[in-house]
Amino acid sequence: MRRRIPEVFLGIGFIGIMSTLFLGLNWAPSVSIDAFESPAAQRIFYWHVPSAWAAFIAFGVLFVGSALWFFKRSPFGWRLHVAGTEAGLACGLMTVWSGCVWGAAEWGTPWDWTDVRLNTFGLLTLLALFLVLGRQSQPDGVETRDTFSTFGLYGFVLVPFTYIATRIWQIRHPGPVIGAGDDGGSLQSSMALVLLIGALSFTIFIIGHMMISMRITHLEQRLEHAQKRLDGGN
């Protein structure tokens, strides 16, 4: 049963995400038509914000994993690094894609190259893409792991930078609606509830994915080691 915990997390997370979408499309109230160019498209917010939240969790895991590998040579740290990059890439792409859909409907353009939040988050996603593709194309070794861990460590600088970007430079991307620090945000309670369910579901889902990704990396290492033994090496 313990071996199936990641699958249980994935199942619960997936059901939660589906419920979020159902509630977001059918139950959450509409926004004021005057405030938005495309009020219907605003409902993508229930996907966009939780996936961005999950991406930040994944990038945090990537940072911790990179540090553990780089400074402690921890095999567990390397597995965290791999899991963090894969989850960060998936959540980053979901965030960027949903943001582009909303931007196309609301702003008339899917991307704005002058907006700091959009571009720093885009860079984070590209970093995750580089790490995933790089790991697949390079032979596994200490130098390769050190190089990718360094990128994971320095790339994390973009996370707090992305977080504060709309507080300092609000260009296109809307400012914070929760945790804004002034009047507690501008969300209605039913909208906040759907958003909370979404954030919890994405968190459970991405934890399940990272657990299964760590298991795969561990299994691949064991398989490689066993095959070397079979071939007559150590």
Partner: protein, 67 residues
């Protein structure tokens, strides 16, 4: 209503992508698990020796410190 349809299509695309990604990962994990069980049971290997790169790296650090 047109906007909602557009949104639903965008959502369905992402849900399909999530489902495919999850399915691929679970299937890959199970397939490696089965292969590994077969190989390891035939040679009797210790799980703690799994990450040869980490072992090699730690050994290298110890070697350096003793020089």
């Amino acid at each position: 209503m047109e906007g909602t349809n557009y949104l639903t299509v965008a959502y369905l695309g992402m849900i399909a992508a999530l489902a495919i990604w999850t399915w691929t990962v679970v299937v890959r994990s199970r397939s490696i698990e089965t292969r590994l069980e077969a190989v390891e049971s035939s040679i009797g290997i210790d799980v703690s020796q799994a990450d040869a790169i980490a072992t090699q790296s730690t050994d290298g650090t110890q070697d350096d410190s003793t020089v």
